[in-house]
């Protein structure tokens, strides 16, 4: 009798769980997890084209990756961008946060100005940068011509030696406010007694930064550097809007290469292999990064 009551109780409980969790599990499982698993399965096939039947070819795609010059080119370019992005977002936004934190007046509005590009669409930001970089009518060249530096004019997005830096600047501009805000939130948790003690001891702003702020900001530094790493490795929509990988194949990021293979060129099997290798690399790099930075946090 009691057992039966218990059974109906757990039955109702399970039903409630199903109602509460079911929709989320179904959607997320069916349209995020399942495609991710299928993607791995596809990476073991020579699937080309939406209607073609994929054929199992084992690890051949992964073997091909080793000798794929375009892939290694894309890795090199992505890593260059990632290094620039990570350095910029971890250190420049930290500096900016320290400066903004000292402001007495108009703290909110100024902070708001720096955050503003982050709320705009990537497409808007990319268009603005593309406009500024334009050879004929771009703002950068107009300014250069105005001060008589006609020779310095460049097709900034079209020239292979400048395009990477323009793309980096685009990403940096869009995200600076976001990363600065993460640091600012952390700076506000530093107890004021520390600053007072430093002032009594006669510490200048530089040593305050080095001895107090920097060590206290290390937890956020871990977060920002990992987030910046993810931003860098997954760099992709910005390329689609601005250079589309050009000139030639000089600004292919890994993300754009996957899109190029899988969506534009019907090499879905191979594209899946590329995306899995990249994802695995990202997880490993981020893991090492977190481990290293955590160790440093403890030792301080």
């Amino acid at each position: 009798m009691r057992e039966k009551a218990l059974n109906t109780y757990t039955g109702r409980n399970a039903l409630a769980s199903l109602i509460l969790c079911g929709p989320a599990v179904l959607l997320y499982g069916g349209f995020i997890v399942l495609p991710a698993i299928l993607g791995f399965a596809y990476s073991l096939t020579n699937w080309t084209g939406w209607t073609a039947r994929p054929q199992y070819i084992g690890l051949e795609n992964f073997r091909d990756l080793w000798s794929d010059a375009r892939f290694s080119e894309a890795i090199r370019f992505t890593l260059l961008e990632t290094v620039l992005i990570v350095l910029f977002f971890t250190f420049v936004s930290m500096m900016l946060a320290v400066i903004l934190d000292k402001l007495r007046i108009w703290k909110g509005p100024i902070r708001g100005l720096f955050f503003y590009p982050y709320i705009l669409s990537i497409l808007v930001n990319a268009l603005l940068f593309q406009y500024m970089a334009n050879y004929r009518e771009g703002a950068v060249n107009t300014l250069l011509r105005a001060v008589g530096l006609n020779a310095a004019c460049q097709d900034w997005m079209g020239a292979a030696e400048w395009a990477p830096y323009f793309i980096f600047m685009l990403v940096a501009w869009s995200g600076l406010g976001f990363f600065t805000t993460l640091y600012l939130a952390n700076l506000q948790t530093i107890p004021t007694e520390l600053y007072e003690a430093a002032r009594i001891d006669g510490a200048g702003p530089f040593s305050v930064f080095r001895r107090i702020q920097f060590p206290m900001l290390l937890p956020t530094l871990t977060t920002t550097s990992v987030l910046a790493l993810i931003t860098g490795i997954n760099l992709f929509p910005q390329i689609v809007v601005t250079t589309q990988g050009g000139p030639g194949f000089r600004t292919f990021t890994i993300g754009y290469y996957i899109y190029y293979l899988g969506v534009l060129n019907n090499r879905q099997g191979y594209a899946a292999a590329v995306s899995f290798v990249t994802f695995a690399a990202l997880v490993i790099i981020a893991g090492i990064q977190v481990a290293l930075l955590r160790r440093r946090q403890v030792s301080l």
Partner: protein
């Protein structure tokens, strides 16, 4: 510092200035204040490009996604965090894993999946994708907030004979309002601004604002900057107004996922 801040957003100001110029004037003097401000560019957007429909579509899409997320994510977070479930711990990790999956990995198989379901290139497919894509982060944000709600409330409700589902909607959900605001801001903005995923999932058929703007601007070899700038200004205006009216909420909402 204020000057630095204004200089920082000068590209945006430039776009606003140039949106009121004719194309020859933009090319001749891109940095100057417009001599004869004109509204032609904006008029063209609504008569030539017909941007009003896509704007309405995007707005509807935002609402649909946000409502679906609010209907599913907080319930799941509640169930996983608060109820005795055999699979609770597993589900927590299961949803957390979603935060790490990049779009590039699921892109190609997802398209195939929608094809097999017969809903490829439809708004419904895009809606399904947006909601599933948003779920892990929403559940993450709600789960973090859930721990600040006292357990006694649920116990009291249970004693009064209130079932788990109605306990959630009547008692817990109203307390999660700050979280819900965050979710609305974050995903509303994200979906309004998105063009990449919409373009890949739905193709050029998707009548959403930024996809249309992108198609329109990549159409021609010579760029009509005057129309592009007008488009940029019009599409960023709703976001900018909301941002100006509740800046603190915005900044808090957009960084919520990262700080926790």
């Amino acid at each position: 510092m204020l000057t630095a801040g204004i200089l920082f957003i000068s590209p945006c100001l430039l776009a606003v200035l140039n949106a009121f110029k004719t194309l020859p004037e933009i090319i001749q003097s891109p940095l100057a204040v417009p001599k004869h401000p004109t509204l032609d560019n904006f008029i063209y957007l609504f008569t030539g490009v017909k941007l009003a429909r896509p704007m309405a579509n995007s707005f509807m899409m935002c609402i649909a996604v946000i409502l679906s997320l609010i209907a599913t994510a907080p319930m799941a977070a509640f169930s996983v965090m608060r109820r005795p479930m055999a699979t609770g711990k597993f589900l927590q990790l299961f949803f957390l894993a979603g935060l790490t999956i990049p779009f590039q990995i699921i892109m190609v198989p997802l398209l195939q999946q929608f094809r097999l379901m017969g809903i490829q290139f439809t708004y419904f497919a895009l809606l399904v994708h947006y909601v599933s894509w948003g779920l892990p982060l929403c559940i993450f944000i709600y789960s973090g907030f859930m721990s600040s709600i006292p357990k006694e409330l649920e116990e009291a409700a249970a004693i009064d004979g209130c079932g788990p589902v109605s306990t959630f909607w009547r008692i817990i959900f109203p307390l999660l309002t700050p979280c819900t605001v965050t979710v609305v801001i974050f995903w509303g903005l994200w979906i309004w601004n998105d063009f990449m995923q919409a373009f890949i999932i739905m193709g050029p058929r998707s009548q959403l604002v930024f996809v249309q703007l992108w198609r329109f601007m990549s159409d021609k070899y010579v760029k009509n900057w005057n129309h592009i700038f007008a488009g940029v200004v019009v599409l960023s205006l709703p976001v900018t107004i909301l941002y100006l009216s509740m800046q603190r909420r915005f900044i808090k909402g957009l960084t919520a996922g990262a700080i926790k």
